[in-house]
Each structure stands twice: as C-alpha cells, then as structure tokens.
Amino acid sequence: MTAEPMPLGSSSSEPGGDESLEPFAAEPPVGRRERSVPRAGWMVVARKEFADHLLSARFVVLLLVLGLAAAIPLYFAADTIRSAASTVSGATAVFIALFWLPPNVTDTVQLPSVAGFLGIVAPLLGLSFAFDAVNGERAQGTLPRLLSQPIHRDDVINGKFAAGLAVIAIVLVAVIGFIAAFGIIRLGIVPAPSELLRIVLWMIVTFVYVSLWLAFGMLLSVLVRRAATSALIGFGVWLLLSIFGELITTLVGGFIAPLSGSLEQQFANNSMQETIRRIRPDILYSEASRALLSPQTTDVSTPATVGAAQQASERIPSLLSLDQSFILVWPQVVALVAITVACFAVAYVRFMRQEVRA
C-alpha cells in the first residue's frame, strides 16, 4: 500500500505489486491466465447447468414419470414371465424378457412392454432439458452477460448439451437399474452375462435416442424466440409421432403404393410403409431396441415379396447371438446417431451466427 495503489489500473498487465520493475506495465499480456485455467469454458457452463437440472422440479417430475412408466408394465410383465417361465422350460434369456414382453393385464387388456413404454416417454426427458436452453437465457437477459465473459461462444451451447447428456445418463441408469433390480428380486433369476450385455447395449441405444430429442430441443431453443413456443413445438412433434405417426405412414404409404386386391401389391404397400416409417426416429429406436433386447428377433423388416414371405415362414425359429442382433440393427443405430448429430450441428451453426441482441 505505497503511495499509489495501482498506477495504471491494469490489473492484468502488471506483474503483481512490482510494477516499478516492469517498464511496460500497461501492456496487455498475452494469455496471461491461460496457464491458470484448469477448466475449459464449456465445463464451467456444463457444471452450472447440470446443478440447475438436478435441483429443478423437472428432474424430479421426469424421474417419477419414467419410473412409473417402467414400474407399471414391469409389475404385470413379471407375472406373465413367471407363469410362462414355468411352462417353457429350457428357454434362454428369460430375464431379459422382462424388458420386451408385452404383459397381459387381463385377457383383453394388453400393455406395451417396459421398453415400449420407456420408448414413448423417453423423448420427454430429452425435450424437457433442452427446449429453453438458449431462448430461456435470452428471455432472462442473461445471454449478453454470459457471452461477455471470457468464454467462446460455442462453450455455451456445448456446455448445455453436455449437461443435458449427463442428466439423461443419470436418469436412464437409475430407471433401468431399478427395473433390473426389481426383476432379480421378483423373478428370482440372475441375468446371464450376455443378457446384461444386451441390457447395457440397449441402454446406450436408448441414451442415443434421448440425446436425439435433446438435440432437437436444443435446435428449437435456438430457432424459436420464446421458450413456451419451442416447448409446444417439441411436445407437439412428439405427440404427432407417437399417436398419429402410424396413421400418417399408412396414408402416405397408401398414396405411393396403392393397396388393391393382389398379394403382390399388398407386399409392395407394406414395404413402402416400412420405408416411410424408417424416417421416424421412434420407429428406428423401437426396431433397434426390439432386436437388442430379444434374441428371438431375427428380422426387423417384413418380407417385401411373396417369395420372401414364404421363405421367412419356413425358417426355423432360433435365437440370435448378441453380435448378430447388433448387426441387424446397426443401420438403425447409425441413423439415430446421424439425426442427433445433424440436429445439434444445425443448432450449433445457427447459434454461432445469431446476433447477441434479441
């Protein structure tokens, strides 16, 4: 505390208190704090977002919704399996049936399988943690302040995406772990290593699928100014796919390959519908999860010709090994990853080019 505390005020430029020894005191140092930076900017953003997510009401609500979505079919599926397991002796992969077997509540009421239920609800998870990522910051007026801190602009969107991925991973591991634990206790069957591996693989594919919706939500939050609007669009698309998806594919398929009497045309129509369906991420995911979870699945496509159908009917039912199952749905998985990357890339580019001011 000598006469003049900070001669030129350049906190950054002076080497500490010894400015007298430094003739170029006012000069800007190059990357002075670079060495002292242990964390990248995106990690700081991700850490904050992650903490926000974990403490948010959304997190609790989603955990409950997903937990319920898993628990209800799980309860009935376990009964179905118990009764089935005793009759089908020698059947392999009984434990994993817990995930994909559609349970009979009564003879008339049938629920979707655990995996099916999760597949319907999982997009919510992705959307909820992303739909207001960027436009929420804009609305709060925090974006200009955030961007004026010494971080790169893409640190913001990368950090937010990373935090979203982390939260999704936590929720999925928790819910699937819960299902598996329940299964072990209720069925009294310890899963075989190959079954565990299938579950882990399925979990990874589910993670990719939810990430797709996270990236889609992120894209909406960049493109749409208001968080409420982007939420509405996101959930609208989700509803449209899960409720009207089938209707639309039937309509479009019928339009391109009209359905008439002949068997050939019926097959043509069928395969056309299937092609159209494969544009939809929810179908890609359900095909992938069906093949990964149940070794009985040997084919994800229906035969396209009369001959192929005949051939398929004559095939001896067999169980696929894990690698064969995975090869079967490899295209689906790649497509899911590709859509995710595309959504995020568009969001990224648009965000980088946007004006800071609203």
């Binding site: 001669p7 208190g17 190059v30 930076v37």
Partner: protein, 366 residues
C-alpha cells in the same frame, strides 16, 4: 476505499502475471496505439453495416485510463452496436478497434477477461441468489474460489446489496438488478468498464451512490469507463468527456466546455435579478444594459420578480460584461438580487448538436 482488498487479491495471482508480462512485448509492437500508453479503448473508422443500414459509421473514439466517457444518443443511434464490437460479440464491417491494446474481433477472450460489461436491461438467473449469480461469473472468469468469495463480498458491498445478496434475484427490483449488474461487471476486477444504460431504473439517491462509486473506481484504480446513457444530467455530472452519437456517427466529442463552444450559437447568456424601487428605473434599465459593449440583446423578465436575460456575443466577453453590469448597478443605484452566467446544459448542447448535423432528426429530439 476499495484499494486494500483489491490489492490483496492482486498479489495472490501475481506470479502468473509475471510470466505473462514476458510475452507482452510482441503485442506491444503490433498495437497501433503505442504512442499513448493510457489509451484503453480506441477505434479508427469503425463501421458496422447490417445490409443497407449503417449502424455505426466510421467511428473514431478514444477512451483513456482514468476517465469516464459518456456515449449519448437516441435509441438506435448505434451505441449498443459499438459496445458489442468493442467486446468482440459482433464483427465490425470495417475499421479497427483496440481494447486494452487488443483487437476484440481477433482475441475476444483476452479482451473479455479484462473488460467488465453490463448490458442494457441486464438479467440474472432468477432461481439463483445474487451471490450465486456472481459466483458463476467468477467461475467463468476462472477466479480461484477464495479470491472469488472475497471479490464478491467486496463488490456487493460497493453496490450496496450485501443485505440482499442471498435472496433469489427473482425478488429483486429493476434498480437492484442494475446494481447487481454493476457488481457483476466488477467481479473480474476489470481494467475497462463498459456500462450500457447503467442507471435507468435506480432511484435518485441510489444513482448518486453509483455515480460516486464509478468516480472512485476511476480515481483509485485508474479504470477507464465507457457508459452509454440517455439520462443527460447524469452523464453531465459524472463524465469527463462526452461523445454525441447520432445515426451511427459521432458528431461531437469532448468535455462539456468543448462541446458548448462547438455547438453553442456563439452567444453567452447572463441572468440578472433586479429589485426595482420605482417604475422609472425599470424602464431605464434596458437601455442602460444595451449600452454596455458586446451586449446584443436584453430580455426583461415577464413579471417584476422574474430574472432578466442578457445575451453577449462573443461568448468570451461574458466576464467583462458581468463586471460592467456590476459597475453600472453601483453607479445608477440599481438593486441587484442576483447575477450569474447561464451554463448551457448538456441537454441544450445535445439538442443543438443533433439538430445541426441531422436537420431531419431535429423534430424527434425536441
């Protein structure tokens, strides 16, 4: 008032700065503003175009350490665009900018590390407390935890928010948010402070405190402050130099007196309060005043108690005319109640400046 803790903080990170100074030489040579070590912000023909619209047109601006520069202008005059270019948040279409000697378009991170910025209508995360918001800023600036806590306590104290620091910012008023915005800009201990409309929602007493704080920062830390505002009287009170912005152009910059000289109409005004004993004297007074050399006009007050206005041209003669009025009053037995030169207000200067450069806009300013 603030130097103690700040110094302590600085010393802690001293070794790093020592390393960095070694590499500073390279930048030194490349900077065009070597001549003046104290220049913190400097722009040369800085231009920003959005399609057809030129938001900022060939701007030349210099802000030195230890001064507060006020940027005045109507909405849409290009103030915020200029600020965004200075922070590297928008690419200029032409010209150069140097902030703390660096080009913000090419080295935005270093610039942003040393520049505190408070945006227009600043916002905070409403689910976090004021302190937590500042903590996030500190982390983004990679300030060590202990240093950050000390710095946060200090800036909260400076802006008078200590008692509300741990409340959610959702409960803050607009004025409190602006105070927090200033604290937020100060957390990183900047060399340059850029404030966009910093005091619009703060109550009058609070404004005085904040303006005092800014003056202290400039005096003690030799900070350079650029603030944009449309509150002319505040700018007049706190700013050392003022730049008047209109349609993307800086149409005048300098101290109040320099601006008054430039944009005045070449006439100085003196206000005189009389107390007349009788009507005869009141009738004679205008002629007596007009007889004084350099007096061009005498406007008697509308009512008896109203002050009179005397116009003097050239303005430099104003002091001499005042002396003459005193002498006259003594000689003629006029009772003077008051006698003072009228200092042109910034508002007047601003109006004239804008009207003179942009006749089309004159109406809007009135």
């Amino acid at each position: 008032m603030t130097s103690g803790p700040r110094l302590a903080r600085k010393r802690k990170i001293a070794p790093r700065r020592g390393d960095a100074a070694a590499s500073a030489g390279g930048v030194r040579g490349s900077s065009p503003d070597d001549t003046d070590e104290l220049v913190r912000i400097s722009t040369r023909r800085l231009t920003k175009r959005y399609g057809e619209l030129t938001a900022v047109d060939a701007l030349d601006l210099d802000v030195r350490a230890g001064e507060i520069f006020g940027l005045l202008g109507q909405n849409g005059a290009g103030k915020t665009t200029t600020i965004l270019m200075l922070l590297g948040l928008t690419e200029p279409s032409g010209g150069t900018a140097r902030v703390v000697g660096l080009d913000p378009a090419r080295r935005p991170l270093e610039v942003k590390r040393r520049v505190g910025y408070m945006p227009d209508s600043v916002g905070f995360y409403s689910d976090l407390s004021g302190r937590e918001n500042l903590r996030y800023t500190a982390r983004l600036n990679r300030i060590e935890r202990d240093d950050a806590e000390a710095a946060i306590d200090e800036v909260l104290e400076q802006v008078g928010l200590t008692s509300r620091a741990d409340d959610s910012t959702e409960t803050y008023s607009r004025g409190m948010l602006q105070r927090l915005g200033i604290a937020d800009a100060l957390v990183k201990d900047p060399d340059v402070l850029i404030l966009d409309e910093p005091t619009t929602a703060i109550d009058p007493l609070g404004v005085t405190e904040i303006l005092d704080l800014l003056r202290d920062l400039v005096k003690q830390r030799q900070m350079a402050i650029l603030l944009s505002s449309h509150l002319l009287n505040q700018v007049q009170v706190v700013c050392d130099r003022i730049g008047i912005f209109a349609a993307g152009k800086l149409i005048g910059q300098g101290s109040m007196t320099e601006l008054a000289d430039r944009f005045g109409d070449g006439t100085a005004h003196i206000e005189i309060g009389f107390e007349f004993d009788d009507e005869a004297m009141a009738k004679r007074a205008p002629d007596l005043l007009r007889a004084i050399p350099d007096v061009t006009e005498v406007r008697p007050g509308a009512r008896r108690i109203d002050p009179w206005i005397v116009a003097v041209r050239p303005p430099a003669a104003e002091g001499r005319v005042r002396q003459a009025i005193l002498a006259l009053a003594a000689a003629e037995g006029l009772h003077l109640v008051s006698l003072r030169p009228i200092v042109p207000s910034l508002e007047e200067i601003y109006r004239k400046a804008v009207a003179r450069t942009l006749p089309a806009h004159a109406g809007a300013v009135q």
